[in-house]
């Protein structure tokens, strides 16, 4: 019980506390007027809000589309297309995130919405691939046993295939989140805002304090999310 509390609340709070401490210290002790002007609570909150907006919207969309798409492609009627998609997705994942954002900028222009859309599409890939691969990887004999016992296809999907594929789907989600959090810091280059804003501002005015603030919050967000999903992963899978 105490351990659970520590794992789920204690450690996350410590991480958030570190970030908060750095921000509070920096805002209250600006070394010069430039930092004082550019590093305010208001600004920090704004970029955090933007950042979370980028993550939440793109990840929610990507999860829905990725999982649904993966399930659909794993159905026997679309399975062949699924295998082709797998190859395309693998190549797509090799394309660096900066290149993806840049290309979307050339097509759609600047802005938050463009950044969200690019992140959304980019994050679909690992989720789609892992959902497909996870379901595809369920041993044929297990499906056949289920069919042989008179289970209907939909029941087999929900009671057998998805639960068995679940750890792999979650691993895909985890990959997507890590990639997404990383790419979200690049959104600033195409006018998408977020924590990258602070870093880029800091770099352009040569103020390490602003850079470090942006970097620390971004890093802690990423580490925290990865940590939480990792812990959830451990809890969920009791078998094997």
């Amino acid at each position: 019980m105490l351990r659970t509390l520590w794992v789920w609340i204690g450690i996350p709070l410590i991480m958030i506390g570190i970030a908060a401490a750095i921000v509070i210290y920096s805002v209250n002790n600006p070394p010069d007027s430039i930092v004082a002007r550019m590093l305010t609570y208001e600004r920090v909150f704004r970029v955090i809000r933007e950042h979370m907006g980028l993550l939440l919207v793109s990840m929610t969309g990507a999860t829905i589309v990725g999982v649904a798409g993966g399930i659909m492609l794993s159905r026997p009627s679309l399975y062949r297309i699924g295998r082709v998609m797998e190859t395309i997705v693998n190549i797509g994942q090799t394309v660096p995130s900066l290149a993806v954002l840049a290309l979307f900028y050339t097509i759609l222009g600047l802005g938050f919405r463009v950044a969200v859309f690019a992140l959304f599409l980019y994050s679909i890939l690992p989720i789609l691939r892992n959902t497909f691969a996870g379901i595809d990887g369920v041993e044929h004999s297990i499906i056949e046993a289920a069919r042989g016992m008179g289970m209907r296809p939909l029941r087999i999907l929900t009671r057998i295939e998805l639960p068995i594929a679940f750890p792999i789907i979650v691993a895909g989600l985890r990959t997507a989140i890590v990639i997404n959090v990383g790419a979200a810091t690049l959104a600033t280059f195409i006018g998408g805002g977020g924590l990258g804003d602070l870093i880029v501002t800091g770099l352009s005015v040569h103020r390490d304090m602003i850079i470090v603030n942006g970097a620390v919050i971004a890093a802690i967000t990423a580490i925290l999310l990865d940590y939480l999903i990792g812990k959830a992963e451990e809890r969920v899978v009791r078998w094997s």
């Binding site: 004999s141 042989g148 016992m149 008179g150 209907r152 078998w239």
Partner: protein, 370 residues
């Protein structure tokens, strides 16, 4: 009960049919064992019966009804299926695995629980120990038994069992086979059973269907198969020592009636009597039982010489193994070889003494038949 007419399956992209024009009828309450070399179409035949595979041609009748016209889901819910690869669900506990079909049929919870505990004990898995384990924590043989329990939990009138005891050790296997036969005597399910073990086939079956390259070579009772194999293929399959294989066919209880051996001695029998009976005995040994006719032990000539008391109850030797009356003669032979004696005592389920059979008795059986 199950009738296959001209059943044929050609897999997509294959030229040769996996099953070709198969005609087979299994009567209600019978066990039909399919045997034949690997790849001869046994599994394919089974999967057509529960319509996991759609036949390319031919008919399947179940209780006179055309199975190909029935709703496959309904059909399968009433056919217990033990898949060759076992196919346990790795993310479910043993309990959940076995409860699958009852849950699909939405039985009440406590009835499911009772039934699951029941079948688990039946296949020799202690529910308290195994219920909450996951399949990954079981040995191959244990998993296979879960597979059997899962198929029979809802008491389906028909069972398809694809090598259900393949991964079980010989001792447990013999136990499961006997258990299976005992249950079968009571419930009379119609069963199609695949095995590679010809001894198992002879022991378990009412009829044996020998297949080869997708075709039925011979369908006969085990005894007919042994005495009149259709061709060389079949006689090679059943092996050289066919007379010994007959021992699988006969239960101990059947010959006990014929062999007329003197009754066992009570514990309070005096030396005189023991000596007399020892002299008369063809195996130079007498059996000692208690007042309730429970087996106590045996007395041989040497035991009498070195006797340590007045009555038989004081100096008998315990026996290391016995057979039950529903065991086959082959089981009896194994026990004799194991304990290194020319006889074995037979007891019933309540350990009451039923009689003794000897190597000589077995020899007579083999001789009579051939």
């Amino acid at each position: 009960m199950i009738k296959l007419e001209g059943l044929t399956k050609v897999f997509k992209g294959h030229n040769i049919p996996a099953v070709k024009d198969l005609n087979l009828e299994v009567n209600e309450g019978d066990v039909c064992v399919l045997v034949g070399p690997s790849g001869c179409g046994k599994t394919t035949t089974m999967k057509m019966i529960n319509r996991l595979y759609e036949p390319t041609g031919g008919k399947i009748y179940i209780r006179g009804e055309d199975a190909l016209q029935m709703d496959p889901i309904k059909l399968r819910l009433d056919i217990g299926y033990v898949i060759q690869e076992i196919g346990l669900f790795p993310h479910m506990t043993i309990y959940e695995n076995i409860a699958t079909v009852p849950n699909e049929k939405q039985w009440p919870k406590d009835q499911v629980k009772e039934k699951v505990d029941n079948v688990m004990s039946l296949v020799g898995l202690d529910p308290e120990i195994f219920k909450n384990r996951y399949p990954s924590a079981l040995s191959g043989g244990q998993r296979q038994r879960v597979g059997v329990a899962r198929a029979m939990v809802s008491d389906p009138p028909i069972m398809l069992m694809d090598e259900p005891f393949g991964a079980v050790d010989p001792i447990t296997r013999a136990r499961l086979q006997n258990e299976f036969l005992r249950i079968q005597e009571r419930v009379d399910k119609t069963i199609v059973f695949v095995t590679h073990d010809i001894d198992e086939a002879i022991k378990m079956s009412d009829t044996i269907a020998v297949m080869r390259e997708g075709e039925l070579v011979q369908h006969a009772t085990p005894s007919d198969l042994l005495s009149a194999p259709a061709d060389e293929f079949v006689s090679n399959l059943v092996g050289r020592n066919r007379s010994i294989k007959r021992l699988h066919l006969i239960r101990v209880s059947e010959i006990l009636e014929e062999v007329d051996r003197a009754p066992a001695l009570k514990e309070d029998t005096k030396e005189e009597e023991v000596k007399k009976r020892l002299d008369e005995s063809d195996i130079r040994t007498v059996i000692v039982v208690d007042r309730d006719n429970k087996l106590k032990g045996v007395i041989g000539v040497n035991d009498l010489k070195r006797k340590t008391g007045e009555v038989a109850g004081d100096y008998f030797q315990e026996v290391s193994d016995t057979v039950t009356d529903d065991a086959t003669l082959n089981d009896a032979l194994s026990v004799m070889l194991e304990i290194g004696e020319g006889y074995v005592a037979v007891v019933n389920e309540d350990e009451k003494y039923q009689g003794t059979i000897t190597l000589g008795d077995l020899l007579n059986v083999v001789r009579e038949d051939s």
